[in-house]
C-alpha cells in the first residue's frame, strides 16, 4: 500500500511539474529548462525556512513560492535580454550553477550531506493524507491551468509562440507574456518541489536536477496540445510506465538506470515525431 501511495504522490507532483512544462514549452515555445532549478529552489527554501524559523506550514509554503517567483523574475529578465539559444543554454547551465551553490553554502543547505528530518505538519503526517493533499494541490493547479488555457491569456500565450509579431501588433507586449509564463511556470514548479519534499522529508543536491528536467520535458512534449487532459495523460504515461517496467527482470546493473534510459529514449523518439509540427511553418516565397 505504501508503494502505491508513493507512486500516486509522485504522479501528482509530476503532473504539476508537467503543467509548468506544458505551459512554457508546449504553449509559449519558451524552453524554460530552469524549471528544475525552481523545483529544487522551492524545496530548499522551504526546508531552510522550516528549520530556522517557527512559521506555520502554510506561511512557509507561501514564502517558498514567493522566493521561487523571484527566481522566475530573474529568468524572465534574462529571456528579454539574450537570444533564445543563449537563454536555453543558460537555463540548462543554471542547473549546474544551483548545484554548485547548494554544495558550497553548506552552513545553510547542508552541502553534499543535505538537510534531513524535514517534518510534515500533522494534517499530512501519514502517507495517505499526503497523497490526498498532493491530489488536491494537483487538482487546484490543473483547474487554474484550465482557466489560463481557455482564457484570452491562453490564446495570447499560443500567439506568442506562433506569431509574436501579430501579437505585438494587436497591442500585447511580448515581454509581459514571456514574463507571465516564466514566473507562473516557476510558481507551479515550486508547488511540485514542496510536494516531493514532503514525501521524502530529506533534501540533498541530487534533488531535482537533470532527472527532473528530463521528466517534465517528456511530459511537455507528450502533452504538446494545450489541454489539461493531455498533461494528465502524459504524466500518467511518464510516471507509471517506468514503474511497470521495473517489475520486469532486468539485470541488476540496469536497475538504477532504467528510468533515465526510458525517459531519454522516449524523449528522442517523441521529439523526432513532433519535429515539423512544433511550430506552424511559414510558407517560403
Amino acid at each position: 500500500m505504501g508503494y502505491l501511495l508513493t507512486v500516486l504522490t509522485r504522479f501528482f507532483w509530476a503532473t504539476v511539474q508537467g503543467v509548468a512544462g506544458q505551459l512554457s514549452i508546449g504553449m509559449a515555445g519558451i524552453f524554460l529548462l530552469s524549471l528544475s532549478v525552481c523545483f529544487s529552489f522551492s524545496a530548499y527554501s522551504f526546508a531552510i525556512l522550516s528549520k530556522n524559523f517557527t512559521f506555520s506550514f502554510w506561511l512557509t509554503f507561501v514564502l517558498s513560492l514567493g522566493l521561487t517567483s523571484l527566481v522566475g523574475f530573474l529568468f524572465s529578465y534574462l529571456y528579454t535580454k539574450v537570444s533564445k539559444d543563449s537563454f536555453t543554454v543558460l537555463a540548462l547551465s543554471s542547473i549546474l550553477g544551483f548545484d554548485a551553490l547548494v554544495k558550497s553554502f553548506d552552513g545553510l543547505t547542508g552541502g553534499v550531506l543535505g538537510i534531513s528530518g524535514i517534518l510534515r505538519p500533522a494534517f499530512i503526517g501519514k502517507l495517505s493524507s499526503l497523497a490526498v493533499f498532493a491530489g488536491i494541490m494537483c487538482l487546484l493547479v490543473l483547474t487554474m491551468h484550465y482557466f489560463v488555457v481557455k482564457s484570452s491569456l491562453g490564446r495570447k500565450i499560443r500567439a506568442f509562440k506562433e506569431h509574436p509579431v501579430a501579437l505585438e501588433s494587436l497591442g500585447t507586449s511580448k515581454d509581459s507574456i514571456s514574463r507571465f509564463v516564466i514566473v507562473w511556470g516557476a510558481i507551479i514548479s515550486s508547488v511540485a518541489g514542496v510536494l516531493e519534499l514532503m514525501r521524502l522529508q530529506f533534501l540533498d543536491p541530487s534533488f531535482g536536477g537533470i532527472p527532473n528536467l528530463i521528466l517534465f520535458v517528456s511530459i511537455a512534449i507528450l502533452a504538446l496540445k494545450p489541454k489539461v487532459s493531455s498533461a494528465v495523460l502524459a504524466s500518467m504515461f511518464v510516471v507509471f510506465v517506468p514503474e511497470i517496467i521495473s517489475f520486469l527482470n532486468f539485470p541488476s546493473q540496469f536497475v538504477g538506470h532504467l528510468r533515465s534510459i526510458f525517459y531519454c529514449v522516449l524523449l528522442i523518439f517523441l521529439v523526432r515525431q513532433v519535429s515539423g509540427k512544433f511550430t506552424i511553418s511559414k510558407r517560403e516565397i
Binding site: 536555453t88 543554454v89 550553477g97 540496469f254 529514449v265 528522442i268
Partner: protein, 293 residues
C-alpha cells in the same frame, strides 16, 4: 609569484580542454545551428574506449577503439539531429542531443560501472617549467590545443574549406545551387567534432580520472564559452574559453579568506559570469553590431 603562475598554468590546461569542446560545438553550430550537448558524453565514451583498449594491453588498440567510438557516435548524432536542421528547429535538436548524452552516460555506467577509472596508474608524471609544474597529459593538452587553435583559425578564416563551411552556415541553399554537397559537409563536421571531443575526453581522463558523467560540466562550460565569446566568431570562443576558467580560478584562490570560496563554487562563478556578460552583451563580448533587415 610561483602560486600565481601555477594558477595560470592550471587554468591554461583546463581552458584548453574547454576550448577543444567549444571548437567542436562551434563547428556543429556553424553548419547545423544545433547545440550538440551530447559532445561531452561522446568525449566520455571515447575516454572509456581508450581505457578499454589499454585494458587489452595495447596503446594502438586504445587509439583505434576510441577513434571508432568517436566516428560511430558522430555519425549516429548526424543521423538523429539532421531532421532538426531540415525543419529549422535547433532547440528541439538541443533537447534530443541532451537526451542522447544522458543515454550514452547511462550506458557507460551500466557497462563500466559508476566507479572512477584511471588511464594512468599511480602518480602522474610531472614536468617542471621555470618553477611551474605541469602534468604530462597537461603538456600534451597545451601542445595539441595550440596546434588545433592555429589550425582551426587558419582553416576557418583563410582556406576554401573554411569559406565553404561559413557559406553553409550563412546561406545553405545558395551553397547547394553552387553544386556543393552540404549534407556531406555536415556529416563530416559531426564526425570531426566528435573526434575533437574524443581527444578532450582522453586528455581530461588522463589528467584526472574517468567517470560516466565527467563530460557534462565541461560541455556546459564550453557552451557558455561559445555564447560569451560570440557564437559566430572563433577568436571570441578561444578567448572566452580561457577567461571562463581563469576568472573562477582567481576568485577561488585570491578572494579574501572571509569568503571561503572553494572549488565547488566553480560552476556557480561560470554561470554568474555568463549571466553578467550576456546581460550587457547578448551576442557575446567579441561580437560586432550588425544591421538586421
Amino acid at each position: 609569484m610561483d602560486f600565481f603562475l601555477q594558477i595560470i598554468a592550471n587554468s591554461l590546461v583546463l581552458g584548453t580542454q574547454v576550448f577543444f569542446l567549444a571548437l567542436a560545438l562551434y563547428l556543429i553550430k556553424a553548419v547545423s545551428k544545433i547545440e550538440h550537448v551530447a559532445l561531452g558524453a561522446i568525449a566520455t565514451a571515447c575516454g572509456y574506449g581508450f581505457y578499454q583498449g589499454l585494458q587489452m594491453g595495447s596503446n594502438i588498440m586504445a587509439i583505434i577503439i576510441s577513434g571508432l567510438v568517436a566516428i560511430t557516435l558522430g555519425y549516429i548524432s548526424f543521423l538523429i539531429l539532421e531532421k532538426f536542421y531540415k525543419n529549422k528547429e535547433p532547440l528541439l535538436g538541443l533537447i534530443v542531443s541532451l537526451s542522447m548524452g544522458l543515454l550514452i552516460e547511462a550506458m557507460i555506467a551500466i557497462i563500466f560501472k559508476s566507479s572512477s577509472k584511471s588511464l594512468i596508474e599511480g602518480i602522474l608524471p610531472i614536468v617542471d617549467f621555470m618553477g611551474v609544474k605541469f602534468t604530462l597529459p597537461g603538456v600534451y593538452t597545451l601542445l595539441i590545443g595550440l596546434v588545433l587553435a592555429l589550425t582551426a583559425f587558419l582553416l576557418v578564416n583563410k582556406t576554401p574549406i573554411g569559406r565553404t563551411l561559413r557559406s553553409v552556415s550563412e546561406n545553405s541553399s545558395l551553397v547547394s545551387s553552387l553544386g556543393i554537397n552540404q549534407l556531406k559537409i555536415r556529416k563530416s563536421v559531426y564526425i570531426i567534432s566528435s573526434i575533437i571531443a574524443g581527444i578532450v575526453g582522453v586528455l581530461a581522463a588522463m589528467n584526472t580520472s574517468l567517470t560516466p558523467n565527467m563530460g557534462f560540466n565541461l560541455t556546459i562550460t564550453a557552451f557558455i564559452a561559445l555564447f560569451v565569446g560570440g557564437s559566430s566568431d572563433i577568436k571570441g570562443t578561444i578567448m572566452a574559453s580561457f577567461l571562463l576558467t581563469l576568472i573562477p580560478e582567481f576568485l577561488i584562490n585570491y578572494a579574501p579568506s572571509s569568503f571561503e570560496f572553494t572549488n565547488s563554487y566553480r560552476m556557480f562563478f561560470v554561470f554568474g559570469l555568463a549571466l553578467i556578460i550576456l546581460s550587457f552583451k547578448p551576442r557575446g563580448i567579441f561580437s560586432k553590431n550588425i544591421r538586421q533587415s
